[in-house]
Symmetry: none
Subunit: 199 residues, 4 copies
DNA sequence: AATGAATGAGCATTCATTCAT
DNA sequence: TATGAATGAATGCTCATTCAT
């Protein structure tokens, strides 16, 4: 992954280091070394350590949002859209372990770490799920009794926990495809209208 | 909550402090003050700061396991069992915010914090879900294609993310009962055999 | 000078180190080493580096005030009182070089270093001079046209600059007694020949 | 104040910045910004930060010396000469606050800051006072018992401390003229009533 | 068992200085 | 000459842990 400029280079380095050591155990000098810049250089691009973490969230999740939105733009069926979201999320998490770790672990602490920080990008990402559900409800494909605001969390939580297996390195393993099929099997067939066929 | 002895008193104090500040921002002196003991006293009961966190996990989740197992022991229907697990988990998380925070946030970091620590108690807790699913499959109530090892994670992840709303304090709110109904609606009706009736 | 307790021990060590290196070049570890305590110990007694400097001022000048007030209490003649103040100030500054340096150099910067810090003790010390002048004016020994608020500064400034020779280590040297006589001669009688008219 | 060249521009900028923040809190980038040049440009004209401070002393005090020497050249009476020196010093210090701060505060630290630096210009300035006193003694206007080397310090110290009121911004205020009159009154004639005996 | 004063290792951040352009 | 991005050494302060009492 070639870094276009130093800002990006540092973001990628930080993602890697935060993933490996966690935010608190990560040293600025670790990030600097990983990015092959001097410690002080980091402060030309970021205000402080927290700022680096926030930037990692914003930029990495921002890219994820762009990617999945692009994929979704070619599809119209809410069932297929859920499938696309699922497969994309799981495969990115399996491939990009560093990003996965940061989202699964560091993102969770962020509210506690940084006063008044709202993970807007993260909310935006999860809201893609609820928007798909709402679309499906408008077209009578998804049951009207499902509350999108709750279902989006249930669904994201399921994906998140499922994909943790790959980062934590638990023995029990499964492929992205197996996980996708299971998730869809459980979730889709659950929220479908009784007469809407499962995929 | 009256503490039987100093060990328990410290565990409860630590749960509260870790929940409020997070493991890294929590100071031993904070825990000592909360437990109304001297800083040094903590080291008579625990080896180090990590040891306190591990003990919090083991004891608090241990109690949770006891509680839910007791509730489940009076029930035989796998559908009801899933409902009991769900309602219990969500209501404990809503009531005991400190425990909720520690499970949702600190537990996730634990592997990174403490080399070679396996959250055995946590695994035991999540495995209750897969054992219920297996039971349902044996009785042909849950579909045989569902993989319990994946489904347990999907289900726990859903519960976990759903209940995070209460600790993070997001505006969108719902009651334990609403959340329970939605979770069951989505999850149960999804994993049931085609001819097994939803609750 | 035996230190009664750690607080005093650190104050004395800091006076010495600030005198030798100046506030900014003084390292906390220098003070700690000089006081024979650990770096962290200093923070059990002081809030921060500035706080140490302020404490040095307050305590060292406080002691100086006590000392000179005690000496003055036995004297009633405003001429003798000025003499006592002068001789005491000059001899303390010549003997206690560290204190002299801190007063002459670091005290001057203090307003710039520490926002909203008023050297109350220092003002109190200089005000002893104006109170002697006022006493002399009441008794018609000192001229009524002299403004005590200006004269106190002129007098203290003269003493201060005179005594700097000893700390800076300028070649031109004179004894405390010589300096005292000259100061009194100039300040009390002026530098004019008896029959030369003032301007 | 139009700067003839960059060297002078930087000197003036540095005087201002050192006055405002003090030498240690002043950053090279502050001076560069004030002088409207790049940080690196400063190093084309000065060796290091200390060098800038020394240059400030030399050039600003050098100008002060030129100015007062020119004023004194038209006067022959040692009493008038002391008056001219006093009024000039006080009025420059009241007008040029930046220079005043640098002389009153930063100059004092200079020996500690810069190894082996002798403020030659400063000595030259203060020696003007002793040369006036010597002149007065030759003409039997000033008493022969006065030691010019001590009196020059006493006199400069008085002026310095008197003028500090204006830079520090103490409530008690007086005009240049009031201060000049008081200084001359005290120094030339002493503070005693005409018929009160000196000690 | 209990205390809490003392320790000292460890790190985010700053900023004078350099140097490629 | 002039620039300003990059460097990396340097340090105030925190806090987990120890240990004399």
């Amino acid at each position: 992954m070639k870094a276009a400029n130093k800002h990006t280079k540092i973001i990628h380095a930080a993602t890697k280091v935060f993933a490996k050591k966690g935010f608190f155990n990560a040293r600025i000098s670790d990030i600097a070394k990983e990015a092959k810049v001097a410690d002080g250089t980091i402060y030309l691009y970021f205000n402080n350590k927290f700022d680096i973490l926030i930037s990692v969230f914003e930029e990495e999740i921002g890219a994820l949002i762009e990617q999945v939105k692009k994929l979704l733009s070619t599809e119209d069926d809410p069932r297929k859209m859920i499938e696309i979201f699922t497969r994309n999320h799981l495969s990115v998490m399996k491939k990009n372990k560093h990003l996965a770790e940061v989202i699964q672990i560091e993102l969770r602490q962020s509210a506690k770490l940084i006063k008044d920080y709202r993970n807007n990008k993260f909310s935006e990402y999860v809201d893609i799920i609820s928007s798909i559900i709402k679309l499906g409800q408008e077209r009578s494909i998804y049951r009207a009794t499902i509350r999108p605001g709750i279902a989006k969390r249930a669904f994201f939580g399921a994906l998140d926990e499922i994909s943790r297996v790959w980062t934590v390195g638990i023995a029990t393993d499964y492929t992205v495809e197996e996980a996708t099929q299971q998730i869809l099997d459980i979730f889709l067939c659950g929220i479908l209208e009784p007469d809407a066929p499962c995929l």
